[in-house]
């Protein structure tokens, strides 16, 4: 795992690692990847991945409105908001 890869996945995850910790993180990540790479030796040809332990299918709901009515509570929880919107630093497209 090189520094470039670490930088990329940090950005994808929107995380930054302290300079002082970056070497250890890289080492930790390498150790964990070694651990999970051990699966490569197992033969999984023709094996369907198991994404959920349930052999069930989706329950779907009817198209009937049921509002939670919690606008104020949602906006209250935000670090920055006014009575109508969540606010973030201005985005330039």
């Amino acid at each position: 795992m090189d520094q470039e890869t670490v930088r990329t996945i940090c950005y994808l995850a929107r995380l930054e690692i302290d300079q002082s910790k970056s070497e250890k993180i890289q080492k930790d990540l390498e150790t964990i990847i070694d651990l999970i790479s051990s699966l490569q030796t197992i033969d999984t040809s023709d094996v369907e991945p198991l994404y959920s332990p349930l052999e069930m299918t989706a329950f779907m709901h009817e198209d009937i409105e049921k509002s939670d009515n919690k606008k104020e509570k949602f906006l209250e929880n935000a670090a920055a908001s006014n009575e109508d919107y969540f606010l973030v630093p201005r985005v330039v497209e």
Binding site: M60, E62, D63, D68, K71, F74, F86, L87, R90, V91
Partner: protein, 475 residues
Amino acid sequence: MTWETVIGLETHVQLSTKTKLFSRASTAFGASPNTNVNLIDCGLPGVLPSVNKEAFYKAIRFGMAVGAQINQTSLFDRKNYFYADLPKGYQITQMDLPIVLGGSIEIILDKLAKTINITRAHLEEDAGKSIHDEFDGFSAIDLNRAGTPLLEIVSEPEISSAKEAVAYMKAMHQLVTYLDVSDGNMAQGSLRCDANVSIRKKGAKELGTRTEIKNINSFKFIEKAINFEIKRQIKILENGEKVTQETRLYDSSKDETRPMRSKEFANDYRYFPEPDLLPVIISDEEIKKIRDEFPELPNEKETRYQKEFGLSAYDAQIIASSKPMADFFEAALQKTKNYSLLSNWLIGEISAYLNKEQIEIHESKLSADIVAMLINRIDDQTISGKIGKSIFEEMCANGSSPDEIIKSQGLEQISDDEAIEEIILTVINENPAQVEAYLAGKEKLFGFFVGQVMKLTEGKANPKTVNNILKDKLK
């Protein structure tokens, strides 16, 4: 150097379900900000999605209409990226197993038909909206739209010009409104498209580098944006340079496309199957029900109107092409049997009025009942066609029924032979010079007499009766 344009369109159709794809918040347009937001739509910790059945039914109807394969087992996947209007930090979409695969749409341009194939169509949730310019230094986020069901329809790159792109979008618009899959209201964002445009030398096999123009929401802009982009790319290639693969936005005020702010790292969406949603299975019974309840499509209506109601091919095509118009026609048919008069009025006076006001028939004050009544009153000679036209104006303004107007303004046509004869005799007596001139051979003066009778009867005399009696008396 002859260049060839290759265009692929990704259309996002907002489904006309009452509630969102994964929550039961309302999808009603125009609500005050952040009120159509349930816990799920806000992406709060601990929330879980639940699938809206109706969204699947609408997607399947679309798939059936374009002759696509319906995947009775389909899956949802997560598309991971960060943006202010994406509350969970991922969008739930369908990657590997979409609900609809394949299909095609026929477009007609300059009387020539062309088939555009569809790669796939899948369900996904819409993001919220960000408003960038209203709050000093801040962008404001409204999550009303977050979670609204979208059907993303991907075409094969078989479109060759901006005009074809518009024809395709118009055909798409007609189809989704007809199927009651979407309200197709482009101004409200119900239908928008991303255009992938590339240029290559004519006859070349490989595709050129493409750019993607995002979120175009009107037919006019689609045509302009694509045309601009084609010109821009051709210029670059003619200069011996390469086109950069990028995402662009169309700026309608400047009529140009410009690149979106470039990102430092290309987005890796890290798709994986959505673990909070199990596979969706649509049963054979459900498929059968959707097929059985399938609405009649425009071309089927055209044929039927001609066969059952004797409309001309031209008239049938015009009425059938707009669902609101077709619905109106069919509703009016319950109340009147004079099909040809009805269709004449729809295509003539009524369409002219709607065009002037820039509205659709279901947005006007005209109801099928009152229009049918108008047709009947002309048909049964209660009023003349001419009086009908003036009544129509008032119907448009107030939605009042013809009977009401006729009664309150005393507009019944005078058809009584004796009454008309009396008035004719009055006109003849008062205009001896014209009578003499007419009898001497000035046949054109017939119209003068008719005019005079109409004046005295305030236009209410039955024209046919007037003609007959006048001819008789002017011998």
